[in-house]
C-alpha cells in the first residue's frame, strides 16, 4: 500500500520546493507534482521534512518504568516529529555492556520510532574503568556517554577518546566538573543568591569543555558536547571549530527558552542539569544555533513521575520533558528560517549520530521513508495531561506555542496521522 503526502512544501538539505511525496514499501517512491497513492495524507500549508533525530532522550527503561518506557517515550517522540531517538544510558542497570544494549534494542524494535541507544563510556557510569565499547559498537552503538555524569578524570577521558576513535564511534560529554558543581541545584548567580538555593557555576561546565577541546586536539578524536548552556562554552566550541578541532555540540530546547528566574517558583519542574541560566547565556545558545557553533537541538527529554517532582527543590531529581514540544519551541523562540530549524532537528543531528542516509533526508526517490509533516503556523497550548509521555513534568504547561506536528512516518509507516497515534 502506498501513501501520498499531498500539497506540502518539501524542506531538506537540498532546498525547498512544492511537491507531493509518495511512500511505498518503506522507501520514498517519488517526489514531484500531482502524485497519487492508496492513502492520502493532507499536507496543505505544511512543511514536509526529514523525520527528526533526537541525540538525547532519557527513555528510562530498564529501571524507571514508572516515569517512562521505551514505548511511551517513542510515542512522545513520534508526536514531536522524531523518527529516531538516541536513548541515554543512565538507566538501571546502566547501558554499559552488550546485554543491556540488546535489551534496549529489542524493546526499541517494537517501538513506533527507530530507537538507537548510546552506551556508557565507563562501567556503571562511575568514571573508573572503560566500559566494553567494542562489544557495544558491534551491536550498532555509535555514541558513548556517561550522561548525567561527566568523565571527571582527564587521563581516563584521554584513553576513552583514543579507544573510541579506533572503533569509529564518538564520545559525547556531559560537561560538569563535580568538585565545582557538587551540592548545587540551580545556576549560581543572582537568583540562587536570592532564593537561598545552592548554585552550580557556569565554570563547572566550561572547565570540562575547555579540557575536552584540548584532549580532542591532542588525540585527534572527535568529541560531542551535550546540552551546552553557557556563553563561555559556546564561544570555546566556536573557536575550536574554527581552529579545526573536531568538536560538535548540541543545545537543549529549554536552554534557549527558559531562564533561571523560573526557579523563583521553587517548582522542581524547572530543575534541570545543566541548570537554566540567565538571559545572557540563553541568548548565547540562540546565537550559537544561528551561526552554526551549535550543530543540533536535542531535547534532553527527562521524564520523572509526579511524586519525584513534588519534592523540595533541592531533593527533586533534575530533568524535564522535551520530545513533544521541541519543534514548537524552536519555531516560536528561535528567529530562524524554517529550513534551519529543520536542519538543527534532522540532518545535522543525524550526521552526529552516524545515521546519515537513514534519517535526516534528503527527501528523494529511493531514500528510507522517515518523514515529519508539520504545520508551522498552528498555535496550541501545552497541556501536561495531553502528552504521550508517561510523565507530566513539562515546564511549558499553559504556554502558547506555534508549530505542530501533523504526520510522522517511520520506515514507511504512518505512525502519526492528523496528530492521532496509530499503533
Amino acid at each position: 500500500m502506498s501513501t501520498v503526502i499531498k500539497g506540502g512544501t518539501v524542506v531538506d538539505q537540498t532546498g525547498e520546493r512544492t511537491a507531493d511525496v509518495v511512500v511505498d514499501d518503506g522507501r520514498i517512491a517519488a517526489v514531484g507534482p500531482d502524485l497519487t497513492g492508496d492513502e492520502v495524507l493532507d499536507a496543505s500549508g505544511c512543511v514536509v521534512a526529514p523525520g527528526f533525530v533526537d541525540l538525547h532522550a532519557h527513555l528510562r527503561q530498564p529501571g524507571a518504568e514508572e516515569a517512562e518506557t521505551i514505548e511511551t517515550g517513542s510515542w512522545a517522540a513520534v508526536r514531536g516529529g522524531f523518527s529516531a531517538v538516541v536513548a541515554m544510558p543512565n538507566t538501571n542497570p546502566p547501558i554499559d555492556c552488550a546485554a543491556v544494549v540488546q535489551e534496549v534494542l529489542a524493546l526499541g524494535a517494537k517501538a513506533p520510532c527507530d530507537v538507537y541507544t548510546s552506551g556508557a563510556i565507563t562501567v556503571g557510569r562511575k568514571g573508573d574503568q572503560l566500559a566494553p565499547m567494542a562489544e557495544m559498537a558491534a551491536l550498532g552503538v555509535r555514541l558513548f556517554t556517561d550522561d548525567g555524569n561527566g568523565v571527571q578524570e582527564a587521563g581516563l577521558m584521554r584513553r576513552a577518546m583514543e579507544y573510541a576513535a579506533g572503533l569509529g564511534v564518538i564520545l559525547a560529554q556531559h560537561c560538569e566538573v563535580d568538585s565545582l558543581a557538587a551540592g548545587g541545584h540551580m545556576h549560581e548567580g543572582e537568583w540562587s543568591s536570592r532564593l537561598g538555593i545552592p548554585g552550580v557555576p557556569a565554570e563547572a561546565e566550561e572547565l570540562m569543555v575547555m579540557r575536552d577541546i584540548a584532549l580532542s586536539r591532542f588525540t585527534g578524536a572527535p568529541v560531542h558536547f551535550q546540552h551546552l548552556s553557557t556563553r563561555g562554552s559556546i564561544a570555546m566550541v566556536r573557536a575550536a571549530r574554527q581552529a579545526g578541532v573536531e568538536v560538535t555540540a548540541e543545545a537543549a530546547t529549554h536552554h534557549f527558552t527558559l531562564t533561571d528566574d523560573a526557579c523563583a517558583s521553587y517548582d522542581p519542574v524547572f530543575k534541570v542539569n545543566p541548570p537554566l541560566r540567565p538571559a545572557d547565556d540563553r541568548d548565547a545558545v540562540r546565537e550559537g544555533l544561528a551561526d552554526g557553533a551549535v550543530d543540533a537541538i536535542a531535547t534532553d527529554h527527562a521524564p520523572h513521575s509526579p511524586d519525584a517532582k513534588e519534592m523540595p527543590f533541592d531533593q527533586a531529581p533534575p530533568g524535564m520533558l522535551g520530545l513533544e514540544t521541541a519543534l514548537a519551541l524552536a519555531l516560536t523562540e528561535l528567529d530562524l528560517p524554517i529550513a534551519e530549524v529543520v536542519g538543527l532537528l534532522s540532518w545535522r543531528p543525524a550526521a552526529i549520530a552516524g545515521l546519515k542516509g537513514i534519517h535526516g533526508g534528503p527527501i528523494e526517490s529511493g531514500a528510507p521513508a522517515n518523514l515529519c509533516v508539520f504545520d508551522p503556523q498552528e498555535t496550541w497550548t501545552v497541556d501536561p495531561y495531553d502528552l504521550a509521555s508517561r510523565s507530566r513534568n513539562t515546564p511549558y504547561a499553559g504556554r502558547q506555542v506555534r508549530g505542530r506536528v501533523r504526520h510522522t512516518i517511520v520506515g514507511g509507516q504512518a505512525v502519526l496521522v492528523d496528530q492521532e497515534m496509530r499503533p
Partner: protein
C-alpha cells in the same frame, strides 16, 4: 495577607504595623494572666522538619496567648520517618482543619510549596538558606525598641551570610526600613552575586565596627572548616570574631545582636554576651510578641479591628 513566606510579603508598612501590634502584645504578656481570646477557636499546626528551640517554643507560646489551639508535629515521632512526602504530610495535617501551618524545613522553598498544597495560612519559620521572616521581624522590633527607629541606622551583619536565612530576611527588612547594612565576612562566606544585594560589603571587621549602631552576629558552624570555606575556626575567631577587645571599640550604645544559637567563643566571646548592650534575651522575648502579631494579622477575622484587651 494570607501567608508569610518572605519578609517582603509584609514590606515596610507591614513591618511597622506588626511592630505596633507587638507593642500591644508585649503589654499583654506582662499581665498576670498573659492571654487574650483573639484567636479562640483557631488552630495553629507546627510542622517542624528541622530542630528548633526558640522559634518553635515561641510560636507555641504566641498561639496559646492568643487562645488558639496548637497542633504539634515532630518529625522524629511521625510518618515522615516512614517515608511520607512533605506534600502528603501537609495534606494529612490540613485535613484536620488547621487555620495556619508554621513550617520549618531544611530545604529552601518548602513553605512556598506548602502554600500551594493547603487551604491554611502558611508561616515560614525558616527554610534552608532562604528566609526566616519572623526572626527579621523580631530583630526590627528589638532595634526599634532600643534605638527608637531604624531609618539611617548603620547595621553590620557579621559571619556566615552565605548559609544564613536570617541574613537574607534581615537585609531586606532592615534596608526596607531605611537602615544602611554592611555585610562583614570572609569572601567564602558571602553569598554569590552579593553585588546584587542592597548592601555594602567589607572583609575587615575592625574597619566596620568603628561607626555602627548595631553589630549583628551570625552562627558559624564547624562544618564550614571541612568544606574548605575556612582554614580554621581559630583563624575565623581571630579575624572576624566579636572578641572582648573588638566589643570595647564599638561606639557607645551600639547593640550586639545574635539570632541564636550561639557558638560561644567562636563568633562571639562569652563575656560580650553578658554586656548590657547585648540583646539576645530581649530578642527571644520580643519573638513571642512579634509572632502573636503575625498570627493575629493572618488569622484574626477582621484584621482592622484592634485586639481586645480583656484577659480570658
Amino acid at each position: 495577607m494570607k501567608h508569610l513566606l518572605s519578609i517582603n510579603d509584609l514590606g515596610a508598612e507591614g513591618i511597622e504595623e506588626a511592630c505596633r501590634l507587638a507593642d500591644h502584645f508585649t503589654e499583654v504578656s506582662q499581665r498576670p494572666i498573659p492571654k487574650v481570646p483573639a484567636l479562640r477557636g483557631k488552630t495553629v499546626a507546627m510542622l517542624f522538619y528541622e530542630d528548633s528551640t526558640r522559634t518553635r517554643l515561641s510560636f507555641e507560646v504566641a498561639a496559646r496567648r492568643l487562645s488558639a489551639d496548637v497542633m504539634g508535629f515532630s518529625v522524629s515521632a511521625s510518618s515522615v520517618n516512614k517515608g511520607e512526602s512533605v506534600r502528603d504530610t501537609v495534606a494529612t495535617v490540613s485535613a484536620m482543619g488547621p487555620d495556619a501551618l508554621v513550617v520549618r524545613h531544611r530545604s529552601a522553598g518548602v513553605p512556598q510549596q506548602t502554600a500551594a498544597w493547603t487551604h491554611a495560612s502558611v508561616i515560614n519559620a525558616g527554610d534552608g538558606w532562604h528566609e526566616h521572616p519572623t526572626q527579621a521581624l523580631l530583630d526590627c522590633y528589638t532595634i526599634r525598641d532600643r534605638l527608637g527607629s531604624m531609618a539611617g541606622r548603620r547595621i553590620v551583619i557579621l559571619g556566615d551570610i552565605k548559609h544564613s536565612r536570617v541574613a537574607r530576611s534581615c537585609v531586606m527588612a532592615f534596608t526596607s526600613l531605611g537602615a544602611k547594612v554592611t555585610l562583614v565576612a570572609p569572601p567564602t562566606l558571602l553569598p554569590p552575586a552579593v553585588d546584587s544585594w542592597p548592601v555594602d560589603v567589607s572583609f575587615s571587621l575592625d574597619a566596620a565596627l568603628s561607626d555602627c549602631d548595631v553589630v549583628y552576629g551570625l552562627r558559624v558552624q564547624q562544618e564550614r572548616q571541612s568544606e574548605a570555606l575556612l582554614p580554621s575556626l581559630r583563624e575565623y575567631t581571630a579575624q572576624w570574631g566579636l572578641t572582648v577587645d573588638r566589643a570595647a571599640r564599638l561606639p557607645a550604645g551600639a547593640l550586639i545582636m545574635h539570632p541564636g544559637p550561639v557558638n560561644r567563643g567562636v563568633e562571639i566571646a562569652p563575656e560580650v554576651l553578658d554586656q548590657p548592650n547585648a540583646t539576645l534575651n530581649e530578642q527571644v522575648r520580643h519573638g513571642v510578641a512579634v509572632r502573636m502579631a503575625v498570627l493575629y494579622l493572618l488569622l484574626a477575622a477582621d484584621p482592622d479591628r484592634q485586639p481586645e484587651g480583656e484577659a480570658s
